[in-house]
Amino acid sequence: MTTMISVSGLTKDFVLHTQGGTVIPVFADLSLEVAEGECVCLHGPSGSGKSTLLRSLYANYKPGSGHIRVAHRGEWVDLTQAEPWQVVEVRRHSVGYVSQFLRVIPRVPALEVVAEPAKLVGMPADEAEARARTLLTRLNIPERLWSIAPATFSGGEQQRVNIARGFVRDYPILLLDEPTASLDAANRQVVVDLILEAKARGVAIVGIFHDAEVREAVADRLFEVTAFQKSAA
């Protein structure tokens, strides 16, 4: 099976300069491999570093040492070494990320928020918008909301817009941060279906799923972040 993500020797501490230089160690010497079509669930109690790892895989956080290699257009790119513009390229083409909360941009309507990532990689506007409509329909966002900026949407609606945005194009790698946290059962099932379909297409998925039902439905294995914890030096 083809490896899509290969993490080795990853160490991350937070140094809080505004609080007298307090060092908060998160994990050390962490290794993880994720294959094509595999869904790995990051597991562990709150504060164990699941989100930090997930954000590191998206190069949102900068680890202190180690390597994060991701497959990008037939080549390995080490996100800990990559130039910023390379990271942008990787995010645009290879690694999708569904955050817990939608970052709302003033005046941009929901349909455009969803279609944007597809347009950015050159998909024709009508095709991108057609895919966006399909996803918004599946995720039960009423059509009357599509032309409205999501700033006024409820938490659940915003999250579903965010999920649609993450699935609008086929990223080879998908990172999901509690995608079902504030969804009702029906919508939770839609998300599970979307994830299973992505797996079937060969997408490598790393996610944080608090909901045991969802976890059991989508995860191939659990990855215990706590296993790489070390106490403060």
Binding site: V15, A71, E75, W76, V77, D78, A82, W85, E89, I105
Partner: protein, 268 residues
């Protein structure tokens, strides 16, 4: 995709602007010191820092409005490749500034001709590069006024009758009309009402993406760079103390000053 992939960086792109060890001293005072970075086509770079941190000095040197004490600013002159802008002849540099570059000033009065109509302001750069058809200049003027969401019926009004936000949008249209590849912006939302700011930011974001323009934006407003900038440089006392992707720098700041800056923002 083969199981064993070559460890190979993504193919190199051709830089648009390359800044190498740029230093500007005012006598004994440091304006900015030892600043190096590269801008690629279509990239938006934010420069943040408090007043006096050297960000405006840096912008003035980068945009060739002031010579550096030492260091080089190289710009990709399509046909001639990367050239140090301070070795260009003055007419070459001036031509660059009114065609391939744009400068959006914090105060629109510095960037507009206040006694020339809105349409004349938009058309000036086109006329400077040889446009000699009134009808086409008119069409471009109307087109750009619509693009920056100005009432096109006001094309013959002078900017002094416009509000601050309208003047700023007109200044942007005036700069973008020649489809520059690089735009310098100094606090583009400074001095505007918050509601007007949001509209301007959103407009800028759309235009920059749609036209693939690279931009260097100096601001003290982190919300501005969060929305507009791909990359961020944090300046303090003339030095770049931290740089990286905007979300990296804002979400996982490493330098004490950046942490202070990020933690000082009031949450709404």
């Amino acid at each position: 995709m083969s199981a064993v992939m070559a460890m190979n960086p993504v193919a190199e792109r051709r830089p648009l602007l390359k800044v190498n060890k740029l230093t500007k001293h005012y006598g004994d005072h440091i304006g900015c010191e030892d600043v190096s970075f590269t801008v690629y086509p279509g990239e938006v770079i934010g420069i943040v820092g408090e007043s006096g941190s050297g960000k405006s000095t840096l912008l003035n040197v980068l945009s060739a409005q002031m010579p550096p004490t030492s260091g080089a600013v190289e710009y990709d002159l399509s046909a001639k490749g990367l050239r140090d802008i301070f070795t260009l002849s003055e007419p070459e540099r001036r031509k660059l500034m009114r065609t391939d570059w744009g400068v959006v000033h914090q105060n629109p009065r510095d960037g507009l001709r206040m006694n020339v109509s809105a349409g004349g302001n938009v058309g000036e750069r086109l006329m400077a590069i040889g446009a000699r058809h009134y009808g086409e200049l008119r069409r471009e003027g109307l087109d750009w006024m619509a693009k920056v969401e100005l009432d096109t019926s006001r094309i013959d009004d002078k900017p002094k009758t416009f509000s601050g936000g309208m003047q700023q949008r007109l200044q942007i249209a005036r700069n973008l009309v020649t489809r520059p590849r690089l735009v310098f912006m100094d606090e583009p939302t400074g001095g505007l009402d918050v509601s007007v700011q949001a509209r301007l930011l959103d407009l800028l974001r759309g235009l920059v993406r749609e036209l693939g323009i690279a931009a260097i934006i100096v601001t003290h407003d982190l919300a501005v760079v969060r929305l507009l900038a791909d990359r961020l440089m944090v300046m303090r006392r003339g030095h770049v103390v931290e740089a990286g992707l905007t979300d990296q720098v804002l979400d996982d700041p490493h330098h004490p000053y950046t942490q202070l800056l990020v933690s000082s923002v009031l949450q709404v």
